[in-house]
């Protein structure tokens, strides 16, 4: 029965629920395979092919979805089977051979394989014999998934699945029950700070744009994600791009903007293709374009691609790249909220920042503000609300993508959840917040640091985009520092000479030191270069570019001393050490 007052969204929601019901409680099993970037690297697409071939051969019908990442990257390729109305049974590190067996015995035969399963998700009453609850896995138990709420659970290319799981109720609520000012107010109340690096409050930044009366305004979403070791932005876009598309649309409503761009690096196909797929469906359902959900709000979104350039993630360089130019940062002022992309007022946010927005609007800013760390003005702590979306890689037992409340300690994340360093080795250091974040020793004091933007800053590190690379006792700090500076040198856009030449010079000195040819003066020389870079560089790349060296000297100065004074290696670095000496042509 169609009530006369039914809104356009109610009809979409009813259809989405009908489809979801059919998927999860219809007459066919549902097989989901992780095919994000880590899933692909582990062989996820080969598993999909084996599943499809075996289904055909067994003449069994089942729904097969290529999903993004559940975050348990260490266990990729991850495959799960959900029989109608049943729990999901997960299998890890699935080979094509194991996939074939799972299809024959579990999907066709109805018998799960407890010896190969890593857990189940669903009602404990339905627990399959001999299989534990995946929710009790240390990597899952302490998570609080907001931005990642759908990751690994829904087909990222199917907007109906997002809607059936609560998606677009926030946009519908904002458009029908809230004014743009109310919507902006909820984001202000939430205390949401930008997750792209600088942790600037999103509500305040949106306010700059909202206050600009220009009729043509842009919201830009930054998925450049050039930070090696960070894969959460792409993880969100390859697993649940719709939350970002809804988030950018809500930002457009709150700021009275009319166009959005989601900016992704060329070649990252899962994020690009899946984002484009949900944008297309959003247009078809009237969730983008003219008069969204029958209101007088109109908003357009498209994906823009950049070439390989780390600095194109800097906000003004990103605008140059969207305009199709060399991605070199602009001078500020004017600031983006006055003159942004194509000369129009613009607001730019990271993927994670926008991914939170639908849940903030749906549940209220107070709810989000209640998660995380409170302000502590005496210690210059502004408070960090919400969660941290962390990428764990390197020498750590469980690598992956997790979302935990801010305020948790590094020790809880790295040991209680991720299982510490494998092979009985000890943890030596962490590299956080991208190469510019430098290194943090794994000392007791540092492991007790709580996840909080200002606490990290005070410790000389950057929580930033959430990448945490763990290095064990075998890692040579001199060599790692040189690797980080080689990255910074390669990625300098070349606009200002302190950064362009300073990075090259630093790299030369670090190569000298690692070849045991460094001199006492080299440490002072590096400090001098670093000070000049900080003072004379236009963007954060040059300003923060000395961090890898200064942080390494702060925590591991003795290793540099051994190389310089005693002409002695402190690790077992290979003689012919690889060091890219590339510059931009």
């Amino acid at each position: 029965m169609t009530a006369p007052t039914e809104s356009p969204f109610d009809a979409i929601l009813a259809e989405a629920r009908r489809r979801w019901e059919d998927l999860t409680a219809g007459d066919r099993p549902w097989i989901r395979v992780g095919t994000g970037l880590a899933g692909e690297a582990a062989g996820g697409f080969e598993v999909v092919a084996a599943v499809k071939a075996t289904l055909e051969q067994q003449q069994v019908t089942a729904n097969v979805s290529e999903v993004g990442t559940l975050g348990l990257c260490f266990a990729e390729p991850l495959l799960d089977v959900q029989t109608p109305n049943g729990p999901r049974v997960f299998y890890g590190q699935v080979t094509p051979e194991l996939a074939e067996r799972i299809v024959r015995e579990h999907v066709a035969g109805g018998n799960p394989l407890p010896e190969n399963a890593i857990g189940y998700l669903g009602e404990p009453a339905q627990a399959p014999v001999g299989i534990t609850n995946l929710q009790d896995h240390p990597m899952m138990a302490l998570q609080q998934r907001i931005a990642l709420r759908n990751a690994g659970n829904i087909d990222p290319s199917d907007l109906y699945q997002y809607i059936a799981n609560g998606g677009y109720s926030a946009l519908s609520k904002a458009l029908t029950e809230m004014s743009p000012e109310d919507t902006l107010g909820e984001v202000r109340t939430s205390g949401l700070r930008g997750r792209g690096g600088a942790a600037f409050p999103a509500g305040i930044k949106w306010g700059f744009l909202a206050g600009n009366p220009d009729p043509n305004k842009y919201i830009l979403c930054n998925c450049e994600e050039g930070d090696p070791g960070a894969f959460n932005d792409r993880g969100i876009l390859e697993s649940d791009p719709a939350t970002v598309v809804e988030g950018i649309t809500i930002a457009g409503y709150a700021c009275n903007a009319n166009r959005g761009y989601i900016f992704i690096r060329y070649g990252h196909n899962q994020p690009i293709d899946r984002t484009r797929a949900v944008i297309r469906q959003a247009y078809e359902l009237g969730l983008l374009g003219q008069n969204i959900l029958g209101t007088d709000f109109s908003f357009d979104v498209e994906v823009a691609l950049t070439g390989d350039s780390y600095v194109s993630g800097e906000e003004t360089a990103l605008m140059e790249a969207i305009e199709g130019k060399r991605s070199m940062p602009r001078y500020r002022p004017p600031f983006p909220a006055q003159v942004g992309v194509f000369g129009k007022p613009s607001n730019i946010n990271n993927v994670k920042t926008l991914a939170y927005v639908p849940e903030i609007v749906a549940r209220g800013g107070q709810w989000f503000a209640g998660i995380g760390t409170p302000p502590d003005p005496d210690n210059r702590i502004n408070g960090s609300s919400g969660t941290a979306i962390l990428c764990l890689s390197g020498d750590i037992t469980y690598t992956g993508l997790i979302e935990v409340p801010l305020g948790m300690t590094l020790r809880q994340v790295l040991f209680d959840m991720a299982g510490g360093v494998p092979n009985g080795k000890s943890m030596k250091l962490l590299q956080t917040g991208g190469p510019l974040g430098g290194v943090l020793s794994a000392s007791d004091a540092n492991l007790d640091l709580v996840l909080d933007f200002d606490v990290f800053r005070a410790a000389g590190a950057i929580l930033g985009s959430g990448g945490i690379i763990v290095a064990d006792e075998d890692t040579c700090v001199v060599d790692l520092t040189r690797n980080l500076i080689a990255f910074c040198q390669y990625e300098s856009c070349g606009k200002c000479f302190p950064c362009r030449m300073g990075m090259s010079h630093l790299l030369e000195v670090l190569e000298r030191i690692s070849n045991l040819e460094g001199t006492e003066e080299d440490l002072a020389l590096m400090r001098n270069i670093g000070e000049n870079m900080q003072a004379g560089s236009l963007c954060g790349h040059g300003q923060l570019g000395f961090n890898p060296v200064s942080s390494a000297l702060r925590y591991f100065g003795h290793e540099f001393d051994a190389h310089i004074r005693e002409k002695r290696h402190t690790g077992d670095c290979p003689d012919q050490v690889f060091s890219p000496r590339l510059t931009r042509r």
């Binding site: 690297a41 050039g226 070791g229 070439g307 764990l392 190469p435 790692l480 690889f578 590339l582």
Partner: protein, 159 residues
């Protein structure tokens, strides 16, 4: 340049699906279609965008994505980002160089294969990572790098 290639360029530049078309988006479309940016493509982009040839070259030479001569059949990328570095990328890169007979990035002498360094292939959780013709493979060892390259070389068409 043969007609077929020229038509691919023409289509890539003039039939872009998205509504914002720029010099960079046009160059990426050409790279996607034929794997390199010949002079003819620079000219086609300049005409389409009402830009000078110099403007187009300025963008094409800034981003390391673009190559200016026809690609080889086998593109091997190895990651040297810090996650991969910590997990042993140095030895993987040396093995890849050895397997291809190269001492640095670039094309092999027989024109069959190309080695490229990448700052992060995005699968850091499975470091060290490499990609063969854009297909990612993780947890690579020097031995598995050598054997993956050898089998890819064996199936790549001869020149």
């Amino acid at each position: 340049m043969d007609d077929a290639t020229f038509q691919l360029i023409d289509r890539a530049v003039n039939d872009q699906p998205q509504s914002t078309v720029t010099v960079l988006s046009s160059l990426l479309a050409v790279e996607d279609a034929i794997g390199y940016i010949p002079t003819e493509a620079v000219e086609a982009v300049a005409v389409r965008m009402d830009a000078t040839v110099n403007d187009v070259w300025a963008v094409a030479t800034f981003y390391p994505n673009f190559r200016f001569d026809p690609p080889t059949d086998l593109r091997v990328e190895v990651c040297w980002g810090p996650s991969c570095h910590v997990m042993g990328a140095t030895a993987v890169i040396a093995a890849a160089q050895e397997a291809l007979g190269l001492s640095d990035e670039g094309d092999t002498l027989d024109g069959k294969a190309t080695l490229r360094y990448n700052t992060c292939l995005g699968a850091c959780a499975h470091a060290p990572v490499m990609a063969i013709n854009h297909h990612l493979a993780g947890r690579i060892t020097p031995d598995s790098a050598r054997s993956r390259i050898a089998s890819a070389l064996a199936t790549a068409p001869a020149h």
